[in-house]
Symmetry: C2
Subunit: 358 residues, 2 copies
Amino acid sequence: MEEELANLHALYLMKKKKVTIKHLARKLNVSVSTVSRALRDAPDVKPETKKAVLELVEELNYKRSFLARSLVSKRTYNVGVIVPDIAVPFFGNAIAGMQEYLHQQGYNLIICSSNEEFEKEKKNVELLLDHQVDGLMISLSTQTKDYTHLEYARDEGLPVVLFDRVLPGQQDNFPKVLVDDQSGAYKAIRHLLERGYRKIAHISGPEHLVISRQRTAGYKTALENAGIALTPGYLLHFDMEGQVGELVDNLLALPDPPDAIFAINDPVAFAIMHHLLSKGVRIPEEMGIVGFTGGPMSKLYYPSLSSVRQPSRAMGKSAAKMLLKEIESPSSETGSKPKIRIIPTELEVGQSSQRSKV
Amino acid sequence: MEEELANLHALYLMKKKKVTIKHLARKLNVSVSTVSRALRDAPDVKPETKKAVLELVEELNYKRSFLARSLVSKRTYNVGVIVPDIAVPFFGNAIAGMQEYLHQQGYNLIICSSNEEFEKEKKNVELLLDHQVDGLMISLSTQTKDYTHLEYARDEGLPVVLFDRVLPGQQDNFPKVLVDDQSGAYKAIRHLLERGYRKIAHISGPEHLVISRQRTAGYKTALENAGIALTPGYLLHFDMEGQVGELVDNLLALPDPPDAIFAINDPVAFAIMHHLLSKGVRIPEEMGIVGFTGGPMSKLYYPSLSSVRQPSRAMGKSAAKMLLKEIESPSSETGSKPKIRIIPTELEVGQSSQRSKV
DNA sequence: ACCGTTTCCGGTACCGTTCTCGAAAGGAAA
DNA sequence: TTTCCTTTCGAGAACGGTACCGGAAACGGT
């Protein structure tokens, strides 16, 4: 009677009284422990009662509370990821890859964006720490110049995995998953050489980022291996996106301008192409172009862009996998060296480097 | 002695003993209730003790447990969002807008991607429900043809806000934030007409989506208002992305082919341009192009794409705002009509519709 | 008939908060 | 002095689970 009334009231307020493990227990005339065990599929519970529980669960549409569970088990089954910009397709895809794997492993993903700001990145780490995620994946912002915030997180007991954007130097002990930037760049230059381009310039990114360095290294060694001397002025770095036009102008103004440009990534490549085409420079006849991180856009551009493909989804999945492994058995405990996974790249040839005759 | 040992052990295992409200209480010789109150900045606690608590918090680096808090307060301060594809810049930006607002309001965002699959979308709703989010924002997948899953969520007491992609018909009672598709399309067509284009075709999307319908409607009324009859064969729908080339060929094969194409969105516009340019059709001289949802790419294409800008960030923020309002006071309780917020669009003129002479 | 094992289950103490209730202390008002 | 508010705080019960410790049947072997 009293209960019915309370029930009615609850319904009225639409603050739906969630069914709990206790309701199940009472209905079945067993203890909460038994129900809990049944739900976790523990070995020491009779198959019949287990079945009965499952049926009642179905009937009452019971949902177990992650919250309560997490509170006692000290695990939230949430992991966080911080990327510089969600809207960049590469990161979007990487995240999709993580999601897929994590969901299927019973984990959940909390996504944060640093907007390429170091301060925001630190705040995000704090936030995820506050929310007691079980682990953290991160791709650094361009402003990030040290690991202090990540080391802090690690000291708090949080497993951290870096991916794609990391800092140079290997004295840090973070597991990482990287793309094979150097050999990707190498392939790009080889390809241009094969097409008959000889005067190859490179527009790179901020010098403190590993990807910039690696790609530049690949560029250099490919040229060296081909016996071609580096031309001063052919290697440029940009700090802000806006500059690209200027840099291209610098190249064109050179006494001996290049006949091909290798761009650090696709957006930069697009900016280069736009600038060149609007100046009447023909691509690929007068200038060959190769980018990096081919997204869907590279095929849609005209001319379509040759680009070193980064398997972004695979990278995401790989990072997630590594993180879960780290959560299960931290390398700091097992004493094993932190893993570094290198994902291979693949050159996708488009029209932007297809010079008609060699 | 004993405690020290335990402490040492804990440290050794790196299962960092988190400092709790109890530790604070003991150290300060007050009760947990008092500490709790101080932390929540309740009015009935002496300023001095409040200060003492805050200081100790600082010193011990105490973090309050969201988990425990949520367990009793029935609020997780997490909200979920489901989008068809995180890697699409429009959604990425919308999410960024939501994040920003939500974080600043003390909420957290859990992001899910349906990959344009209805089944996945349903699973995502389940997942978020399981995780007891306080609210849900969603942009429907192309496969979604009804609201049953959302109605279920709403019946469970979960506030739901739709954005961008919704279903036609207004008998549902969900609050929504939409872009002004119709007038956006109208503006696009007006613009083309002003530029002297007369034979304007439209490549639209799946017919059951509201955005398709609205944009098509804008297209039609703009032509009608200009006294131009609709040409049969000028209005096409695509189901899969791949088809765009075919559709363009159909248009070109028409006895009287169009001199401009209005695309339902930018990716489609890019595909159209790529196809046309590779066939030697000159843009904008022989064919004008206008897209929808200008991202950063529209300026980078050559020729740059004229496009109806959707303020994606603003939409995200608006949706988040609406959701929080819904969480604080559900419209179902206050009896007020669910809000529908329409965000205005803006035409960004590029080169793709800049015919030299009118 | 006795005793050691299994098999299955119940009781209870948490996990880290918030919330409700009421009580002590210190005036102000009577 | 008594009465009655304020202000400030403490005790203890939740919240929905899990983990640990036992204990009662049921079973088989001797």
